[in-house]
Subunit: 372 residues, 4 copies
C-alpha cells in the first residue's frame, strides 16, 4: 500500500486515472523562493503529449497545469506543498465499455483486479500512461531548481525497434538531436526509424525502443549508500515508468564483457589556468558518473529500454474475467512506440531523483546560521 | 542521509565497514513465529564467501552469524527487531596503509571523501563488498519466510566476460546449474568461462558478468503502483549491489526490438482436473511475471549485469588527495569476477523485496479478527 | 522538509493555504471497495465549519469536497490514490494587506519567515486552521472504513476556559453531549461555558479548552513498539493540530500522583453466555486502552488541551519585519475558542491513526490466499 | 510493523529484549567528523542505570557501550551507520519462569501475545524499560552534535507522587537541580519526595511523576508543518517512552483556562550593544519556544507525565493465558518510581528529535558547494 510517493526530501505523490477527473500530484519539500515558469511546464507537457511528431496517440491532450497551493501571489514557491492537477478532457467512456470484463494481453487489467478486487476499466485507469502527466509536471518543477544549480538533464533516442544508434560517446551532438523528429542524433537513422514506425502503424502493430539520458553539472557527493545509491534510485524511478523493461548506466550490460583494465577510469587533475581552478576528475567515464553509489562530478548517463505498447490493432486471443476465451481487436488509435513521448518522462524522473539527493546532500553540508 | 535501510514493512538496516569490528544489521518487521535455521544462513554465507570454487578472493571469511535480539529461547522470531552481526576476522590493516591518500581508479575512495569529508581507507570501508554479508543474512531470514509461503528464488550465471549462456527459456535445468562450479546451466560453456577466469587471473586482470534470477510461486497481486512497482523495487535493490551496472526483467532490452504482436502474452485458462482448480495465466511469459507493476502469478525473472572488479594487479595511473599523479599496483589477491560469489547476494536482495511486498499486500487482504 | 504526510500504510498528504485556491490532500493506501458517503463528509465539514453554534468565525465556509481520483463510477474506492480538494471561497485578500510586514503575537508569521525566507501573509497561509479542512475529509474517509470494522470515535468538550467537566468516567452519556451546543455532557456547565464565551467575545478576548476523545471497538494488537506505539502516534497526530498544547491518555497527568496499587488494571475473564464467547479484558481501564504501546481491546481515551486563539481584538504591542515596534488591533471576526469547531478535527486525526495501525496490524495476520 | 525507527535524516533504529543477549541500535545519518566521547555516553548510561540514588531497581546494570561500525581509528564518525550494543548481564531467567503464562496487570504481557502470537516472558522482553538503554546511547551521540551547535538539553523533576514543584518559571536554578538526589530544584520538596518514595517502598507500592525538560540554543526555523511540527515530533518521542502518559509544552494544559490576552507573547527587538547584534524575540515565552510548529529561537520547554510502575509487591488478582484467575505477588526489587532514572531518557529522545530537525532544516539552507 501507499506506493504513490517518490523521494525523501523532495517528495512527489501522484494521483489520477486515465478517465477520471484529473491527474496530478503534490510536491512536498519543494525549496522555497523558486519562481514557477509556466511556459517551461507547458513545453514539457506538450512534448509528452505529442512527441513533437505525428506518431502520437490521437487522443488530444491539450494539457494545462493548475496549481492549487504552495505559491505566493507572484508564483514563488512558499516551501509548503505544491498541489497541482491537469484535467482529463476528451474522455469518452463508452469506447471502453466492451472491454469491461476482458483481460487485454500484457495490460494491467488482470493484475489490478487481482490486487484490489476492483478496477477502473476505462482506459486502463491508474495503469494508463496518462499518469505520467503528473510525473512531468513534478519533474518540470524539479528541473527549474536544478537549472538554478547548473544541472541539466537531456535525453535522446538510442533505439527504435531494430534500429540502434551507434554511439561513439554517451554525449551526442544535441543540435542534431533537436533536429530529428524522433530526437535521434543520427538524422539518417532517424528517417529509417520513422519508416519503421509507419510500417508498424500500417500493420496495426507496435514496437519498442531505448532512451538515453545524460545529466551534466552534478557535483560530487550525491547518493546515499548502501541502498539509496544514486544509480539504485535512478533505476527505481526509471523502472517505475510504464513499459520500462531495462535500465543500465555507464557501460551497463556491455561492462559484463569488459576487462577491469579497460573499464577502470583513471583519476586525473584538471587544471583550469584561466579560472585558476583545479578539479579532480577522470580521463574516461566508463563509470557513468557514479562510483560506490555516489556521484563523482562527471556526467551521469544511463539508458532505459521500453517494450512495444500492448495495445495492438491485430486480433488477439485472451480470456474474460470468467475464464472464457475471447478474441479482441483493440480499437482507437494508440501509440506505435513510446518513443518519443516518453523522453520528457525520463527527464522528469531523473530530475526528481537528482533534486531529492541534492537536498539530502545539503543536510550534511551546512554551516548552521544562528538566527539574529 | 540515512540510506542504509530497505523495505517498508520488512525493513532491513545494515551497517559495517570492511575492516571495522563487524558487519550486520537489524530486521524490523520480521513476522513472528518463524523458526531460524542457522544451517540455512551458514550455507548462504558460505556461498557468498567462497563461491563454492577456487576463484574467490583469498581473504578467509569464515563467517558465523550472531543474533543479538528478536528470538525466543528456541530460536523463534518474536516479531521484535532481529539484530545480527558477523565479526570481521583476518583484518590486517597495514596492507592498506599506503593507499591511505590515493584514489584507486573506479573505487569509491574519491566519492566517499567528497561526500563525507572523511573516509575509512582500510579495505574500502563501507564501500567494500564485505557489506553484502549483512544482505545475505537478512535475505536468508526472508527466504525462510518465503519458503513457508511456497516461494522459491534461484539464480544462475548467464554471462562471464564474453561468454554468454544462450537460453531457450528463462527457466534452465537447475540440476545442471548445481553441477557447474560457476552455476551456469551449460556445462561446456561453464568450462570455457573457467578458462577465461584463469586467464584473467594470470593477466592480473578482471572481468564482468551477468546473473539471472527466477522467482517461482509468487501469487498475483504483489507490487505497489505507481512508484513502488515490483520491477522498480527489484531494480533498486539489485542496482544497490556493489558493481551492478544494469537490470532488466522479462524480455528486457531485447523487448526494444520486438513487435507488440510478438511480445504480448495471451491470457489463458489453466484447468487442473486432478486438483479441480482453475487458474488464469498466460501462455507465454515475455512479461517476466509482472504487469503494470504487479505480479501476475507467473514466474518472475530478471538479469543483473556486473562490471569487472576495479582492483587489478596491473599498474595504473591515478592521483592522490593532493592532486599529485601516482602509479599504483594493487596487491593482495582479489576477485577476478563477482561471479559466482554475487549469486547469493542477488537471491538475498530479491527475497527482501518479495517479503516486503507480501506483507504490504497482506495489509489489504485480511479479515480482521476481532479479539476474543 | 516534507512534513505534510502522516501514516505509513494509510498515508495522508495535505496541502493548501488559507487564501490560496484550495485546501485538500491525497490519501494513498485507502483500502479498495469502500463506498464514499458524501453526506458523511459534508456533515463532518459542517461541524468543523460552524461548530453547530453561533461561536464560529464569521468567515463563511460552505465547504464542498471534490474528488479528483481514486473512485469508480459509482463512488467505490479503487485502491489507488484518492485526491480531493475543497475550494477556498470568501477570500478577501485586502484585509490582510496591512499585516504583511508585521509579526502577529503568538502566530506563525515570524517562524514561517525564518524557516522559508518567504511567507504567505494572507490569513496565515499554511499556518491557518483552514488546513484542518483537509484533515477532516481524510478523517471522514478513514471513519467510513472504521465503522465497517465496528470502530467508533467520539469526542466531547471537557473544558472551556476555567470551566471543567467533572467526569465520573471517561465515557459520558453521549445523548447529553449531542444536546449541548458545546458538546459538553453536563448541560448546566455547558451554559456557563457559553456565557463565558459570550463574555470573552464582548471583551474581544479568547479562551482555551480541552477536548476528550473515546474510541470504542478497537481490537487488541494495534500499535508498533517501540517508537510507533499507539499512544505515541495519537500524541503526534493530536499535537500537530493547530493550537494543541497538551496530550494525555488514560489517567494522564493524574497518574503521576497515583500509586501503582490504584492505577493497575486487573485482568479478568468476561464470559458472555448468550453469544457463547469468552473475552479477556480488565475490570478497570486506567490504562486508557493501551498497554506497552499496543491496544488491549478496551476503550481508548485521551484528552487534548488547546490554547486560546492568538487573534484577539484588544490592541497588542509587537514588531514588524524591520524590528520596529508596532501596535496592532486585529480586525475581522475570529473564533473565541477552538471549541467546538476542533472536535471533528480531533476525531479525524484519531481515525487516520487507527486505520493506519489497523492496516499495519493486518500485514502480519493474514493467511495468504494463493491466486486461483 | 517496523516501528522501531525514529527520525528521518538522523534515523535511530533500536533492538533488544530485557533478557536477550543485548540491547542496542543503529544510527543512520549521523553527521561525519564527530568525535565520540565515551565518557559522556558512560555518564548518561550511569544516570539511567542508577538515577544517582538508592531508589533504583537493584538489577546491576554496569552498562558499557560497544560500537561495531561507523567510526574511524580515532573514533571520528564516518557518516556511515553507527551500530552499537550494550550487553545484558545479570540475566537470571528462572525468576520469570512462574510468570510465563500469567498476564501481569498493566504490563504488556497480554498485548504482546495478542499482537505477535508469541512473547518473551523473561523480564518483559522488548516491553521492558531495559530498551531505553539504546535510546540513551543514541541520544548521547545526538547531544555531542548539538553541543557543537550550541544547543543544550536539561531536565528536572517536577512532580513525584502528590508532591509538585511550584515553578515561577520554566527555567529553574540548575545548580539546585544538581544538588538534589532527585534532581528537583526545590531542595526541601526534594526531601519530602524522598520520604514519600521510601514510604512507597515499605508499602511495596509505587508512584508516578512528572519530568520537565528545557532546550536552549535552538535557532528559529526547526520543525516541519503540518504533521511533523516540532511539538508533534517531541510529543511522539516522549510518549514512546515506557510509562509515559502525558505530554504538554509551553503553558500546556494550563493554557486551556487562559485568555488570549494573557497567553500571547509580544514580539520585541532585543538589541545587544556589546556584540552589536539585533535579535527578534518575545518578551514572554508562554508558547514554549514553538509557533506554528516551528522553533522561534526562544527556549523550548515541555513536561512528560509518567504512571507508577506496574510491578508492585502487593498481591494482585489477574488471569493466566487460559483465562483462569490467578493471584500474583511480584518478587524481585523494582523501581518505586521512574524518576529519576527516566530523566536521561527524556533528554536522549529530545536530542534525537532536535538533531533530526536540524538536519532537515539544513537541507533547505545550503549554498551548494560545487566540487573543485
Amino acid at each position: 500500500m501507499a506506493g504513490n510517493s517518490i523521494g525523501e526530501l523532495f517528495r512527489v505523490t501522484t494521483f489520477g486515472e486515465s478517465h477520471g477527473n484529473a491527474v496530478g500530484g503534490i510536491i512536498d519539500g519543494c525549496p522555497p523562493n523558486l519562481k514557477i515558469d509556466y511556459n517551461f511546464i507547458d513545453n514539457l507537457l506538450l512534448r509528452r503529449a505529442t512527441g513533437k511528431s505525428f506518431f502520437e496517440s490521437e487522443r488530444k491532450e491539450d494539457d494545462k497545469v493548475m496549481f492549487l497551493s504552495g505559491l505566493s501571489e507572484n508564483d514563488m514557491t512558499l516551501g509548503t506543498p505544491l498541489a497541482f492537477y491537469v484535467a482529463n478532457k476528451d474522455v469518452a467512456d463508452n469506447t471502453y465499455e466492451d472491454l469491461k470484463d476482458i483481460y487485454r494481453p500484457s495490460h494491467a487489467d488482470f493484475t489490478y483486479e487481482k490486487k484490489y478486487g476492483i478496477r477502473d476499466y476505462r482506459g486502463g485507469g491508474r495503469a494508463s500512461a496518462r499518469e505520467t502527466v503528473a510525473r512531468v509536471v513534478a519533474g518540470a518543477v524539479a528541473m527549474m531548481y536544478l537549472v538554478k544549480n547548473g544541472i541539466h538533464i537531456r535525453t535522446y533516442t538510442s533505439q527504435v525497434g531494430p534500429y540502434k544508434y551507434n554511439e561513439d560517446s554517451y554525449l551526442p551532438d544535441f543540435k542534431k538531436v533537436d533536429k530529428s523528429p524522433l530526437f535521434c542524433p543520427d538524422i539518417e537513422l532517424s528517417e529509417r526509424m520513422i519508416n519503421y514506425l509507419n510500417r508498424m502503424k500500417r500493420e496495426k502493430d507496435t514496437t519498442g525502443g531505448v532512451v538515453a539520458c545524460v545529466i551534466t553539472g552534478v557535483q560530487a557527493g550525491l547518493g546515499e549508500p548502501v541502498f539509496d545509491k544514486l544509480q539504485a534510485e535512478l533505476a527505481k524511478s526509471m523502472m517505475s515508468i510504464p513499459s520500462a523493461k531495462g535500465f543500465e548506466y555507464g557501460m551497463g550490460f556491455k561492462s559484463a564483457s569488459m576487462k577491469g583494465s579497460e573499464h577502470n577510469d583513471p583519476f586525473v587533475t584538471d587544471i583550469d589556468n584561466k579560472n585558476n581552478t583545479v578539479k579532480y576528475t577522470t580521463s574516461t567515464n566508463n563509470a557513468g558518473g557514479i562510483l560506490g553509489g555516489i556521484s563523482n562530478g562527471q556526467d551521469i548517463f544511463f539508458k532505459v529500454a521500453f517494450k512495444p505498447p500492448s495495445s495492438i490493432g491485430i486480433p488477439q486471443q485472451t480470456i474474460d474475467n470468467k475464464g472464457n476465451p475471447k478474441s479482441i481487436e483493440i480499437k482507437g488509435k494508440f501509440d506505435v512506440c513510446v518513443i518519443p513521448r516518453v523522453l520528457p518522462v525520463v527527464e522528469a524522473m531523473a530530475a526528481i531523483v537528482i533534486v531529492d539527493h541534492l537536498l539530502r546532500f545539503n543536510s550534511l553540508h551546512t554551516v548552521s546560521n544562528k538566527n539574529k
